[in-house]
Amino acid sequence: MSTADGVIIGTTQIFGTAPRNQAFNVVLLAEGFTSPEQSDFNLACSAFVTALTGTDPFGQVAHALNVFRVNVASNQSGADDPVAAGGTGAAPATYFDARFGANGLRRLLVCDNTIALQVALAQVPEFAVVLVVVNAQVYGGSGGSVGVFSLAPGATEIALHEMGHTAFGLADEYAYYAGGVEPGQDHHPPLDPSEPNVTTNTDRPTLKWNWAVATTTALPTMSTPDCASVDGRPSPVPMGTVGLFEGAHYYHCGAYRPEYDCKMRALSVPFCRVCQHVISTRIASPIAADVPIGTIDTPAPLATVAGEVAFTGWAVDDSGIADVGIYRSPVAGEPADASGLILVGTATRIPGARPDIVAAFPLYPGVASAGWGFMILSNMLPNGGNGTFTLHAVARSLSGESQVIGTRVIVVDNAASVLPFGTIDTPGQGAIVSGQVVNFGWALTPQPKTIPLDGSTIDVYIDGVLAGHPSYNHFRPDIAGLFPGYANSNGAVGVYQFDSTSLSNGLHTISWVVRDDAGAFQGVGSRFFSVQN
């Protein structure tokens, strides 16, 4: 069973138009498909492309992605399936010698990696990833330098997870080694792993994914209560929250992952935001897109939100970005513009907020301001801010092209919210300040609760550190008119003053955390500002 057991028919590019020497090239190799079965392989490749481009962030960087299929006709069909591992005993003569039952585990499907890499090198020397598609309906696959997966439903998930390792250097995020019952996995060794999606570091300023963590998110975000076992509790924060979740890189304690869940932790869930960022910058960075590229980073898809919602992301273009508009799809009966959308507002672009994008796209004009942010007070959306809404980020380049760089469906449920809500009005997102700074904002909480009038339960955080409390209970007619009937409707405004000369020149963050008289609390108004004294 070897290359004598088949013949290479040829290579076909089935997705993408990017230059090979800059593109992220995926090579699919046919294994165990006879000559008459090549159409089955072609269909499997098409299905893989659909799965790949339907998995965030691959679809968003499709302009830099090529997929090739290498048709290889094996003399016989299928893969070895040893009886000793619970298989059928089949032993077909195939080109890459694929076999189930490696190490006695039937679903561990492997092949001759040397042959696979040599074929890929000969057919597409610029390959980034080699995947072997095995003509078998038994579930199985494996990873390493070559990804292997069968035609069984769900097996493409194996390939996507393994691409995370092979092509993007991502670590496993699960908190166990052999499934969770093995000893010796209590505490991670002290050395910080080099992979971008796991860490032993809990220091906010030096955290690898500091850029993705809201100042109001606690670090650690979730700690393992008993290091002798895997923490099986649900997430204490909404899905999509980036922070530090203990239990990662095969250990129960001492190592952290960015989100509660991720495809590098379990199959059939999305890649977390940090992994998506690693993938998208690696794939898209070499290629100047014809249109702006970028993403929406927050909120998470299908997140249930209330009150103020932070939309954040990044955008770049080889001519520079003119602006990023935030739009929403109209609700039934609502008029829209010619594009079919309704403009919500223009995002603020924030110099210095995304050094990771600067590193990935160093030659793009204006890349220092690639990061953008926009706060939506969801209470002002139709139906009092209740229902499912679809929002879009549209980046417009300085050369005039516009591109939807991300779409988010969010579930807004202010009716059921028991949390305070509000926003910061000044400093504006990305504002430049000097000297004494007046920080205005407002906050309300659902009835029958109230926010103490002295402002003592409103915490102002600057750079994640508690700075003080605002003077509260000031009247503003527009707030009173928009939100009548709340305990604090006629005194929702707070004001806090601080001396910016006590801060270094450069980028800082400010946010409020509001607690009502029932103890419910919520962060409102997190934003960047720049000090220039």
Binding site: R107, L108, L117, P125, S145
Partner: protein, 143 residues
């Protein structure tokens, strides 16, 4: 120098394919290619793992890139029901292959597979030390 180009830009490179069994490794193929390759600082290996060095005749390291998938000692086993945990099993002495793409370095004479391991004096925190051990060297073809 190999790290003067902007990151993520295509550049002349050499792709290597290695085959291993246990601790033994052999070079199966090397081929010139122009493509996007990782950064290759001579001192880029700060974490345990396997790397490939481009070295001159005096054994000076000119470029170093990670060699993911080299000498795998474990394999992932994926559950058919995806809500169940992924597991790893040890596969000691397994035969396998890996590929590394290294920026072309004019002064390079040979490549060396390097294993970086945590030092014996490792203490808590990121200051823990590592040391590099040469595994095997192979001449560069001049085609």
């Amino acid at each position: 120098m190999p790290n003067e180009s902007p990151p993520f830009q295509p550049r002349p490179a050499v792709r290597f394919i290695f085959e291993y069994e246990g601790d033994q490794v052999r070079l199966v193929a090397q081929q010139a290619v122009e493509m996007v390759v990782p950064e290759a600082s001579p001192s880029s290996a700060a974490a345990p793992g396997y790397y490939l060095d481009a070295r001159d005749a005096a054994e000076r390291t000119l470029a170093r890139v990670a060699a993911p998938g080299a000498f795998r000692r474990s394999a992932e086993v994926f559950p058919e029901r995806h809500e169940e945990p992924i597991a790893r099993i040890d596969v000691p002495g397994q035969r396998g292959a890996f590929t590394v793409t290294l920026p072309a370095v004019e002064q390079a004479d040979h490549v060396t597979v390097v294993r970086v391991v945590a030092g014996t004096d490792s203490g808590p925190g990121p200051a823990a030390t590592v040391r590099a051990v040469d595994v095997a060297s192979f001449p560069l073809s001049r085609r």
